[in-house]
Symmetry: C2
Amino acid sequence: MSLLTVGSVAFDALETPFGKTDKIIGGAATYITLSASYFTKQNNLVAVVGGDFPQEMIDVLVSHGVNTAGLEIRKDEKTFFWSGKYHENMNSRDTLEVQLNVMENFDPKIPAEYQNCQFLMLGNTAPAIQNMVLDRLDSRPQFVMLDTMNFWMDIAMDDLKAVLPKVDCLTVNDEEARQLSGDYSLRKAAKTIMAMGPKTLIIKKGEHGALLFQGNEIFFCPALPLEEVFDPTGAGDTFAGGFIGHLAATNDLSFQNMKRAIVYGSAMASFCVEKFGCERILDLTQVEINDRVQEFVKLAHFAV
Amino acid sequence: MSLLTVGSVAFDALETPFGKTDKIIGGAATYITLSASYFTKQNNLVAVVGGDFPQEMIDVLVSHGVNTAGLEIRKDEKTFFWSGKYHENMNSRDTLEVQLNVMENFDPKIPAEYQNCQFLMLGNTAPAIQNMVLDRLDSRPQFVMLDTMNFWMDIAMDDLKAVLPKVDCLTVNDEEARQLSGDYSLRKAAKTIMAMGPKTLIIKKGEHGALLFQGNEIFFCPALPLEEVFDPTGAGDTFAGGFIGHLAATNDLSFQNMKRAIVYGSAMASFCVEKFGCERILDLTQVEINDRVQEFVKLAHFAV
């Protein structure tokens, strides 16, 4: 099935306990489409960059089968830029600088060839823009997934609550689930959030794994304990790309298949954090991915 | 097989966001033996209490099949007392008061009938005392498990490092694993700690589950997401009691069976936190425990 991803394509500058980068390629939609490319070849991108964005990186996306017809290039403007520094424990980070640039007035245009996509991934951006994308589609996709963050809960909670009834699946981290619901218990928080619209909720817990909620069902997928987490940037987006990429590839929205999708997403995220930026997810093989998924099987399975 | 548990039997006073208790029964060995009692009937306790400890509670232990021949009662002294207050998130707590009382000169005496026990659980207490217990056994048990905490790493690290080569399995939480090893990555920390002696390491992550390490094998068991965590006191000890209780009952030290034991331990801990103190683990049925274990199967299993 055809997947449409809308979100940021950006420059990042990162500092982790392991090193520092100059401007490298980042952005939610970059990680999502790259990760999804290992699952589906109908992989359509809507994003906006400035004239400073390197053609070589667009070529890399294209070489991964990403359709960049919806990638707007504003020659006279600059690409969205984020710079951040991770704390020693890698679980928290400080934003050092944000230059919105082209994202200040992101006006997502959906190419005609993208209409009637069956799977839609709304990467983390302003809820009003995520809502606008839904309005601009001729028909509602079969499965709509939305990622958001605490920043939008702080400044645009009403917009977020307006779009939530229109989505099938929401992804947030544990602190965001608590903020959005007002509940400390994640089990209670999940009920509260699902009552806001999304029938499926994924709560990401970083190095502690991810929880999938749907009705009364709960599934937990651990994160793979790694010798070194080099750079967590993009792990959540890589996870989301693997998750929705697997769903789009299999066109099976059963809870059993969503569990499988969570494992594939977690496997993709476990690669992402092994190098800076999106470097590690540029040249994975199917064998590497399958081997990694088997590590999750060994990690999580037991017989009683 | 016969299990011997050495550790504290105590009074606790607790404050959680859900309420407050006066002095209630606590202590590592109380939780461990109660939890283990659902698995093994050869359940021997070595501990010390004061004359203020209620006979009714000793009767409760006995009614659970706990052998209290090794429970020393010092009529003229007072029982160990700990009081603590949990923070909003339940993952951290402040100690408000400690009265060592009888624990100040705990001199664990092993009754002759406990000699030749095959499974030994050294509950959290001074490493020098844990070492002393090993010295006082005529023969080394088949499986020795030791629990400790950051407090002993701060003030008795040499004693702890002296006892570690003599144990088969160590349990610590994630922060303690980092402190003991000097490694941030839990995978690296596990290697470092296993090189100190224990061939098996359990890293407890509270609401984030538990990791089991042995050689190159890793198993992760999630914690069950609960609507309400009422009081986390004793959860780690209840976990340990279920773990070693299952091992003693089955007398199977394979990695597969240890995985099963971790799940049983986690199921027992998930009950423990549902009420104050040890109340919830006083009257469980085998059906409740099996149903809870099935919830872990549903939570963790997937097919790829």
